[in-house]
């Protein structure tokens, strides 16, 4: 492969990661507020189908994206209502919605399968696209891929560098403390769950109106992405930059699956296509293993200097969820 071919492939990896970045950051914001949205897999499918249907009917890509965000926000609203107002398990409601939205998208999308709707195209940035290497890699993408880069920085800035971001972290970590500081915990949780849902909902149209344009029902190849999104959120430790790293890692693994196929004739192509999924989830083992009790116990037996090094490495990989994730808040 020539240098430029590799660059173009890597640019493709960045574009392929864009929807995952949107979904993971949306979920991260929602979980930071304490609302676990397990419906992600169905939500992405439904917003992909819904936004495709809207773009097809209106011939307008922008309205399609808007529909995707609206579907994401609406589904998150159901999760928030069931858990925050009706005090039901977020896992149960989220799981049911994950299956329900998937089936709904296949059922409603059946009549529009295989049709052609408008799609967004590449938008090279004049002046910057000429820069060697970076030009090809970063500045010849489509609008949503640019936005995915910006979103990572914005989300980080918002969560860690602003006052409302501090409150967001507060309602997910110590809701009672945030409450006495004057935060309306449940209202904010509703708001952030819906904002997160709207952002994650954009992942659907990025697929159906851009990188996997069209709606092909069960063979759209989107089933399963949402579960990966949830695990990358954990891998990312609820931090935007680390989460983005997880998204790009996943996209690279998927790309490698395609590239390595010719050189690994003994492995069926179907296996290489699904391989990134288990690999990505098994990274969770490294992220979580530092939390296990037996690790601590066996570390204690090691000599001091070795122990310190391993403990440091484990801490670096470790990710601790927001303390009040999934826990309902009631004022006393």
């Amino acid at each position: 492969m020539t240098d430029s071919a590799i660059l173009i492939s890597l640019a493709g990896v960045l574009a392929a990661a864009a929807p995952v970045v949107f979904a993971v950051l949306g979920e991260t914001i929602s979980e930071r507020a304490g609302v676990l949205n397990l419906s992600m897999n169905g939500m992405i499918l439904l917003s992909a189908m819904g936004s495709f249907a809207v773009a097809l009917a209106t011939k307008n890509v922008f309205l399609g994206f808007l529909a995707g965000a609206a579907i994401g926000a609406l589904i998150s609203l159901i999760v928030a209502f069931a858990s925050l107002t009706l005090m039901q398990s977020q896992v149960a409601v989220g799981f049911v919605l994950a299956l329900l939205c998937r089936d709904l998208s296949y059922f409603l999308g059946n009549p529009i399968m295989g049709q052609v709707a408008p799609r967004i195209s590449q938008l090279p940035i004049p002046g910057l696209e000429g820069i060697p290497i970076l030009g090809t890699l970063i500045f010849r993408q489509d609008m949503m891929t640019y936005l995915s880069f910006v979103l990572v920085i914005l989300a980080w800035f918002f969560i860690f560098r602003t006052r409302p971001g501090l409150t967001l972290r507060g309602i997910g970590e110590r809701p009672a403390a945030a409450f006495v500081r004057g935060a309306n915990v449940n209202r904010l949780r509703y708001v952030y769950a819906m904002i997160g849902g709207a952002i994650a909902g954009l992942a659907g149209p990025i697929y159906s109106l851009s990188i996997k344009a069209g709606w092909k029902g069960t063979i759209s190849g989107l089933d399963g992405i949402g579960w990966i999104v949830l695990s990358i959120t954990i891998f990312g430790g609820w931090k935007p930059f680390r989460a983005a790293l997880g998204c790009y890692l996943f996209a690279i693994l998927q790309w490698l699956g395609l590239v390595l196929q010719p050189s690994l004739p003994s492995v069926p192509s179907q296996v290489l296509q699904v391989a990134p999924f288990p690999l990505m989830i098994l990274t969770l083992l490294f992220v979580n293993i530092g939390n296990a009790e037996w690790v601590e116990r066996s570390l204690a037996r090691l000599p001091e200097n070795v122990r310190r090094e391993i403990a440091k490495a484990l801490r670096a990989m470790n990710a601790t969820p927001p303390a009040a994730l999934g826990v309902p808040f009631e004022k006393e």
Binding site: F81, M87, V91, L99, L230, V271, W294
Partner: protein
């Protein structure tokens, strides 16, 4: 408002009506005649002896999966990895059948050994999820999902690799086994095997008896209600979680074994057929109680089989069954919450 049988029933009825309402809206949105669609589903499920037998064929693995899940739910675990456990059960069963099919052993014995191998395979996969949770700190939901993906990859690799059909491998699965290695089919039916019905009924009864009638079941409940106090009271928590995973895996593996020995007679890519996820829905719908799991699972199986007619007769997608099941479970959960809130308000007022 008082908490009694009739208000609870009213809320459940409301959930059914709302679920039907949403499904009707979906049908209208797809440009179909709702009444005609429901008629086709009903006819497709009970219209003839043959389709009714198909409902029973699909009821068996669903009830087996639900039975297993009731055990993990009792200790408060979300065993989403059940899909992979069913798949591994099917893989182990196929492996046993393949290695014993040319031996001189009695076919009946071969089938029994293969089913036992399937149960072991399911249990093994479930204990992986348990080990990831206990020793790796990976939440069982995500560990289970990961293992589901691994099981899918393993299954595809076997079908397209070592176990591929002579000639060209295909999505239609491995070469079917000889008729002697099928579970005996009822006279006059094309697929129904009475033996599997007996297995399913025994399974749900055994789970009911275990949870409600044994000291072990009581300890499982204690761990599920409050892990910390159970531990303080001297119940080793992780050992109980691990055993509940293993028990659930046995049932899931049994479901996979049934799929291979009595439904498909070979290994296919989607051998678990979504029964694991559907079992989770059934378990949620029955409030994690074994007593009414069998009829509810039968209803879900009927919806599934009935909706197979939709693409053929009305050019609709058969996922309408999933839409009906999903909305039903969703509204039952929302109804529970709404009832709880109204009861609390009523209590404050009096």
């Amino acid at each position: 408002m008082r908490d009694n049988r009739s208000t609870r029933f009213a809320f459940q009825l409301g959930a059914v009506v709302l679920a039907l309402g949403i499904a009707t809206l979906a049908l209208l949105a797809a440009g179909a005649q709702p009444i005609q669609a429901y008629r086709n589903i009903i006819l497709g499920a009970v219209g003839s002896w043959d389709v009714a037998a198909n409902v029973l064929v699909s009821w068996v693995p669903l009830l087996l999966a639900t039975s297993g899940l009731l055990v993990t739910f009792t200790v408060g675990l979300w065993n989403i990895g059940i899909e992979g456990q069913i798949t591994l059960g099917a893989i182990f069963t196929t492996w046993a059948l393949r290695s014993l099919q040319s031996s001189a052993m009695d076919p009946a014995l071969v089938i029994i050994l293969a089913v036992l191998a399937g149960m072991a395979g399911g249990a093994l996969w479930a204990m992986f999820a348990g080990a990831l949770k206990t020793f790796g700190g990976v939440n069982e939901i995500f560990g289970g999902l990961g293992l589901n993906f691994v099981a899918t990859a393993l299954n595809l690799w076997l079908i397209f690799g070592p176990w591929k059909r002579p000639g060209v491998a295909s999505m239609s699965g491995t070469l079917p086994f000889e008729r002697a290695l099928w579970m005996p089919i009822a006279a006059g039916s094309s697929r129904l095997t009475p033996m599997t019905l007996i297995i399913a009924v025994i399974a749900i009864l055994a789970v009911y008896a275990m949870i409600e009638g044994t000291y072990f079941g009581l300890r499982l409940k204690a761990v599920g209600k409050n892990q910390k106090s159970a531990y303080i009271l001297g119940i080793p928590t992780w050992q109980h979680m691990m055993s509940s995973f293993a028990i659930c895996g046995v049932f899931a593996g049994l479901a996979g074994a049934v799929q291979v020995t009595s439904v498909y007679h070979r290994l296919i890519p989607s051998i678990s057929s979504g029964y694991g996820y559907m079992g989770l829905m059934v378990a949620m719908l029955v409030g994690y109680k074994a007593s009414i799991a069998a009829p509810v699972a039968l209803f879900f199986a009927a919806l599934n089989v009935g909706s197979i007619q939709l693409p053929i007769v009305m050019k609709l997608d058969s996922s309408l069954a999933g839409v009906l099941q999903g909305t039903l479970v969703l509204f039952v959960i929302l109804g529970q919450g709404a009832r709880g809130r109204l009861l609390k308000k009523a209590k404050v007022r009096t």
